[in-house]
Amino acid sequence: MAMSMVEALRDAMDVKLAEDPGVVIFGEDVGYFGGVFRCTAGLQEKYGEQRVFDTPINESAIVGMAIGMATHGMRPCVEMQFADYMYPAYDQITQEAARMRFRSNGQFTCPMVIRMPTGGGIFGGQTHSQSPEALFTHVAGLKTVIPSTPYDAKGLLIAAIEDPDPVIFLEPKRLYNGPFNGDHQAKSVSWSQHPDGEVPPDHYTVPLGKAAIRCSGNEVTVLAYGTMVYVAQAAAEESGVDAEIIDLRTLLPLDLDTVQQSVEKTGRCVVVHEATKTSGFGAELIAEVQEACFWHLKAPIQRITGWDAPYPHAAEWDYFPGPKRLGAALVKAMKY
C-alpha cells in the first residue's frame, strides 16, 4: 500500500492502539484535530478520547504525564508539536525518563516514545526547523531514532513503542509528504512514486540499532540520516563520486559495525546533518570512525552541516546543507 510518511506513522500508531490497550497518544492538537501535521488524524474518532487526547501547551507536563503512565505500566506515545518545543521538557526527558530504570534499579521503567517533527526546509524560521538529535545522544538511557522512508517510519515507530525504554523519535518533517533531495526549486515528488513509499498494512518492525546501506559504493562513505539521505544521493549523482550512503536510522545505539565495515572499504568518510556543526552528532560519528578506522583513512573526515547560527528564515536554503555543498565535500575527499 502506498503511504506518505505521515500515513505510515499514523498507521504504526493505529496498529499499536488496536493491539495494546496500554498504548495512549497525546500532545498538543493531536486529539480532535489530529495534529498540525495530521499524523494522528482520525485516531481519536477511532479509539476514543481515553486513548488519543489533546493536552495543554506544556511540553514538560506532556512528558511528565507520560512518565507517570509508563512507570505505571502503560505505553504512552506522545507528540512534541515541533522538536523546537521539546526544550521545556528537556529536564523531564533527560533527567527523569532517561534514568528512571537506572535510579530505581529496574523497579520503575519508562517504555515510552516521544515523537517530534524535526529539521528545516519549510520556511519555519529558527523555532520550527531545529534538529536537536545531539542533545539526546549525549544522554545515557535514551534511544534516538530517525527514519527516512515511510516503510522505516512505520516499522521503527512500532519497534519504538514496543521498546522497554524511552525512545526519542525524530520525524524529518521535510520528508512527511515525499522524498526531498535538497533541490527546493524542483517539483515535489510524492511517496507514492517512490519504492519506499510501499508500506505493508499490518504489524511489522524495523529493529532499532540497525543502519541501512541506501546505496553501495567504493570511494567514500557518507553517514547520513533523515532528509540528508536524499541529499546524499543527489550529491553522489551530481558529483559522480562512487559513494556508499549509509542511513543510520538509529543514532543511539549506533550501528558502528556497518559504519566501520564501510569506511574500512572506502577509506574515506563524510558525515552530514542539518543541525549546527559544533558538538553536533557528526562530531560523535567522526570520533568513533577515526578511532575504529584510523589506519584505513585516506583523508580527513569532513562534516557538512548547518552553520553555527540559528536557522535563518529567509536564507534557509543557504543554511540547509544541500547537494552542492555535500558534493563538493565528496570531490574534496577524493582529492587526497
Partner: protein, 412 residues
C-alpha cells in the same frame, strides 16, 4: 452527584463543526455593573473583578457605569483615532493574508476580532514602556505608530526587513516602539517581562512593562514563573492574558481546566486580577489606564484577562472549519470590536456609515500603496534576496574565528 470510580474528563468546546454555535454557558454579565477598585487593592479583595466581566459599552452603544466615568475625559476624537487604529490593522491583516496566499510571504497571523485589546492598551502607554508581545499583538505596533514599511519589509524578508530575514515574518521587534522581540516559543516572554520590570524598578527609570500571553500559553511553565516572580518581587508590570477561546485547534477549556477564569488563577498567586470584555474598546481603554496608573505608582503588579474570540484561523497554516462551527465568530455574544466602537461613535454623532466606508477605502488605498512600494524591494516569489552572509552576523557581538571560517566556507 454520585460517583463510584475515578474517570478522566476531557474538556470540550461548546460546539463542533456541523453543530450550531452555542455560547449559552458564557456569562457576559451586564455592562456598567462592576465598579472601579481602589488603586491599591489587594488580591483578596479582587474576587468580583477576577470572576466577573468589566464592560463599558452596552448593547445600544452607550458607555455606562463607573468605568465609563473613570475615563470621562476621553473624547470622541481619541476614540475616532482608536477606530482608525483598529480599521488599519484589519485592513492590513486582510492584505497580508492575501499576500501570503499569493506566495509573497511564507506565513501570516491575523488578529481579527482582537484589535481593541492592543490598540486601546498601547494608547495608554508612555514612551519607554515595554511590551512583551506574542505574534498576535501587531495591534500594539500599529497603535504605537510603527512604520508600515518596516512591518511589511519583515513580512517579505526583503531589504527593508529590520530583522534582515532572520525571523519569521510575523515576529517583529522594535525597541523604540516598546515592542520586544517575539519568540516562537510560547510563554517565554512572560517571565522575561517580569525581569525587565524588575530592571525598571532597580534602575528607577520611571518606565513600566506589559507582558502578553494567549489563553493556551497560560499552560506554559513561564506563565507560572511570571506570576510567581511578579508576586514575590512586586515589579511594575501589567500581566495581560488574551483569552480568545482557542489555541490552534484546542479549546480554551484544555488550558483552563476547572479554573473559573484565568484572572482567578492569577489571583491565586496573590496578584490583583481583573477580567474585561476585550471587544469593548472603552473597557480596554479604562482598565488599561487604571492598571497602568496603579503599576506606575508603585502599587505592584496587576493581571488582566481580556475576554475575546479568535475570529480568524490560528494562522495561514490553519483551517478552523475542521474543529469549530464555521459561523461561530458571528455568535460571539460580545460582538466585534470595530462594529461596537463604530456604533458608539455613531450614537454620539461623531461618526457615520459614510465616513466609515470612506475611511475604509482610504486606509485600503494607503496600505496598498505602501504595500506596492515595499513589494518593489522583493517578496518571496519575486525574490531579491538579502546576502546570506548576514546569517553569520549577530550570532555574537564579535564574530568568533569558527564562524568566520564557516562564513568563508559558505562562500557568501
Amino acid at each position: 452527584m454520585k460517583k463510584n470510580a475515578p474517570a478522566l474528563t476531557f474538556p470540550k468546546p461548546p460546539a463542533r463543526p456541523n453543530e450550531s454555535p452555542d455560547f449559552s454557558s458564557v456569562d457576559v454579565g451586564v455592562a456598567g455593573e462592576l465598579g472601579v477598585p481602589p488603586i491599591d487593592i489587594v488580591a483578596a479583595d479582587c474576587r468580583p473583578y477576577a470572576n466577573g466581566l468589566i464592560r463599558v459599552l452596552n448593547d445600544e452603544g452607550h458607555a455606562v457605569g463607573p468605568w465609563a466615568d473613570f475615563i470621562d475625559d476621553v473624547d470622541l476624537e481619541f476614540l475616532t483615532q482608536g477606530l482608525r487604529d483598529m480599521m488599519t490593522i484589519r485592513t492590513l491583516d486582510q492584505r497580508m493574508l492575501n499576500a501570503q496566499r499569493q506566495g509573497k510571504t511564507s506565513f501570516y497571523v491575523q488578529c481579527t476580532g482582537e484589535e481593541a485589546i492592543g490598540c486601546a492598551f498601547q494608547r495608554q502607554l508612555q514612551p519607554g514602556d515595554m511590551n512583551f508581545p506574542t505574534y498576535r499583538q501587531q495591534s500594539l505596533l500599529i497603535a504605537a505608530g510603527y512604520s508600515m514599511e518596516l512591518l511589511m519589509g519583515q513580512l517579505y524578508s526583503n531589504e527593508l526587513d529590520p530583522m534582515q530575514g532572520r525571523q519569521l515574518p510575523v515576529m517583529h521587534s522594535s525597541r523604540k516602539d516598546g515592542f520586544f522581540s517575539i519568540s516562537g516559543n510560547l510563554g517565554t516572554q512572560y517571565i522575561q517581562a517580569v525581569g525587565w520590570a524588575m530592571a525598571n524598578a532597580l534602575t528607577d527609570d520611571g518606565k513600566i512593562t506589559a507582558g502578553w500571553i494567549g489563553d493556551g500559553a497560560t499552560a506554559s511553565n513561564d506563565f507560572h514563573s511570571a506570576l510567581l516572580c511578579a508576586s514575590v518581587y512586586q515589579p511594575p508590570i501589567v500581566l495581560n492574558i488574551v483569552n480568545n477561546q482557542w489555541a490552534i485547534s484546542t479549546y480554551t477549556g484544555v488550558a483552563s481546566g476547572k479554573s473559573r477564569t484565568y484572572a482567578a488563577r492569577a489571583r491565586g498567586y496573590g496578584i490583583p486580577s481583573l477580567r474585561v470584555d476585550g471587544n469593548d474598546y472603552l473597557a480596554v481603554c479604562a482598565v488599561s489606564r487604571w492598571a497602568l496608573t496603579r503599576v506606575r505608582q508603585g502599587y505592584g503588579p496587576v493581571a488582566i484577562e481580556w475576554f475575546t474570540y479568535r475570529t480568524a484561523p490560528h494562522s495561514t497554516s490553519d483551517d478552523p472549519s475542521a474543529y469549530r462551527p464555521r459561523d461561530e465568530a458571528k455568535a460571539w455574544p460580545l460582538g466585534d470590536p470595530i462594529d461596537r466602537l463604530k456604533q458608539h461613535l455613531i450614537v454620539n454623532e461623531a461618526w457615520s456609515e459614510e465616513r466609515h466606508v470612506q475611511t475604509q477605502a482610504q486606509l485600503l488605498d494607503e496600505i496598498t500603496t505602501t504595500q506596492k512600494a515595499v513589494e518593489a524591494h522583493g517578496t518571496l516569489v519575486d525574490n531579491k534576496p538579502l546576502s546570506p552572509a548576514l546569517m553569520f552576523n549577530e550570532v555574537f557581538a564579535e564574530m568568533p574565528e569558527h564562524l568566520r571560517r564557516q562564513r568563508q566556507e559558505s562562500g557568501f
